[in-house]
Symmetry: C2
Subunit: 444 residues, 2 copies
Amino acid sequence: MTDEEGLADLLERNDLRGMQDWMDQHPPYVIADELARMDGVTSVVPFRLLGKDRALAVFEELEPVDQQAILAGLRDQALRDLVEEMDPDDRARMLGEAPAKVAKRVLAGLSPRERQMTAALLGYPEGSVGRIMTPETVALGLNLTAEDALRVVRDKGPDAETIYTLPVVDVGRRLVGVVELRELVLSRPEGTVSGLVDTEVPRVRATDPAEDAARLMRETNILDLPVVDSEGRLVGLLTIDDAVEVIEAADTEDVARQSGASPWQGHYMSASVWQLARARAPWLLVLMVAAVLTVNVLQVFEATLAEVTALALFIPLLVGTGGNAGAQAATAAVRAIAVGEVRGSDLVRVVWRECRVGLALGGMLALIGLVVGVFVVGGSIALIVGLSLVAICAWAATVGATMPLLAKRLRIDPAVVSAPMVTTFVDATGLMIYFLTARAVLGL
Amino acid sequence: MTDEEGLADLLERNDLRGMQDWMDQHPPYVIADELARMDGVTSVVPFRLLGKDRALAVFEELEPVDQQAILAGLRDQALRDLVEEMDPDDRARMLGEAPAKVAKRVLAGLSPRERQMTAALLGYPEGSVGRIMTPETVALGLNLTAEDALRVVRDKGPDAETIYTLPVVDVGRRLVGVVELRELVLSRPEGTVSGLVDTEVPRVRATDPAEDAARLMRETNILDLPVVDSEGRLVGLLTIDDAVEVIEAADTEDVARQSGASPWQGHYMSASVWQLARARAPWLLVLMVAAVLTVNVLQVFEATLAEVTALALFIPLLVGTGGNAGAQAATAAVRAIAVGEVRGSDLVRVVWRECRVGLALGGMLALIGLVVGVFVVGGSIALIVGLSLVAICAWAATVGATMPLLAKRLRIDPAVVSAPMVTTFVDATGLMIYFLTARAVLGL
């Protein structure tokens, strides 16, 4: 085995021994990455060579869609062993996206305790905190001493996903606050939970959107966020590793949407050409149909165009620059909304800012355009191009920033307002600005 | 005070009492967000009203650029108190971006111990792990029992930023592995560190890029990543909260770059119109100059255009659709590279995939374009538009995916290959495809 050879190459040569060696020498997340790059059917072969503990570690690093591919290729006993050992929240996430047949097969193999926990998580709506929280926590009573509390942690800790954040509950299991294990370990043994508890810690409902909860954790720098039901009773903890995954998935989705493609599940390299095309086709189609508007606008001005063909030369430049200015403003606005810097109520302020930014940018470009244009196409066309640049840039930046904010106000995901959408809209209106300016300047 | 009134409104009315009440009723991260939305000079006024502990909590939630604005408005004693209490890594991050005058004023006020730690962190290159790691860790020796180790944790823990990950070192302070506090607490007292240590844990050098380290943590789901020097000696820990911040900042930067704007420091709402314009102007200008290429291309085909004016009608539609297809491919490629799904060596595979995706998309659009076109502009122009759509989409998707991968191979940040850059390049080449097709079909 050379250093250069990947798992896929070894698999192709059917070199079982080589694959085993390769997997022994690489950490689970690297193995998972290699498996995710293969298609489902083949990835089972190396997976089966893994020992039980290592198989679980690799499996947990995979995305749900890749996990399902592996499960489909496992025998019942191997599947049961694997799924029984998973954390309930990881299991629920995987099953939430699996076909009913697979979910049934998995649930049937679980022990009653694990099955019950998983089913409870699956009862929460998709994309909610409940789906990804861990229900296995170590909860403390208010009147324990630090020493007693540590005993509880030692006792119940082995079953819990985390023991670093210890929710404190009253007799009705209502959440009072949390104690960090750090405080407990560093406290005097006779200190009390009621003296250590932080009651100001933020909390979320299990039915709240997972993305909002994750961003809250990012803002407040906490490791685990307590999750409660509608009566304020503790139901679980959202851990930071799951929150980070939620944020990354949401960002990937936003990025895809920004380019006018629907997000797809799973690894880029294992997505088929057909899957990629399907993710992009709908918006591309909608945008092309919208672009027919530009044909209509040009038809209106066809007489002007026939008279002064030179006007056609600058269509792609003006349309392109307007599109770029609009895309910049839209991208900035969508990101500012996503990270919480801009709210729906900032609409007027943002529009006014972006309008001025657009004017400044347009003015600068126009100056350069004018100077160059005078030498290439002469005064009047250069003047038309310059004036149009100012107006189009101001208009594009204003529209670009307004559309995501309007979407936010209408409770549509702002990321749906993609840059291409803004660009296409600005194209048609920009052409109108251009030809109206041309008519005015040329006196047509 | 009504519920609707924000801190900014109260400040405008100079209602000190109202501000105090408002800040008492909101958690630090909400106060920090409000301050970040004000400009620097005004944000000091409410900040000064905060008690000492609360001031620190709010201050730690601010971005470096906003922190500097606050510092500039504080008296020496207040500044000293505040900065002395900060974690060394937060302090180093703030100072790394501060003007030399501010940095000097801050360092001068620190105690020798804190000053030394901060200076050490500032010695690492910008954007490296060393700049943001915490040097205050609780390191354990291999031959301790669990009970002894817990005693060390209780002893040194109060000074450390985290005690959940305990690096294990040999006599030369070389990193052997880590023990999680969880293992230690749950272990039998007579268990040993050498029995609990995980030696397979990933580690990074202090000079490695912070973004790579953060993504590694995300992939491996670990809370704290040990940081070593070139000889493998422990120098600190990268904690998950800092890693999440690094990832979010990197994503925001990528998003800005994708739209052809340079990223700026700080809050969107507190950035001035001038700052926003400056961030966007360079690329917009470069792209406009590149777009002059489209004028040149059209000049070459001006005779064809004058003969068949109807060809001009479809310029924005074709150019726009090509740009959209290219932007989709580029965005997908940049994101796949950023999250590590695609590597430089995947170039050929990715190009071949995207070329087929583009052909599939172009074929679909062409079919629709043909049918509509035949009725609107007649057979030959419709045929030209249809054929061009197929060629342009395939070309755009290929170029869009290739450019970020080439950048990666040339060790340029792939995110610099913005969607507008791809779009502008595809515009000019797309026009050539269009007019060459037109000449061939019309026999000109």
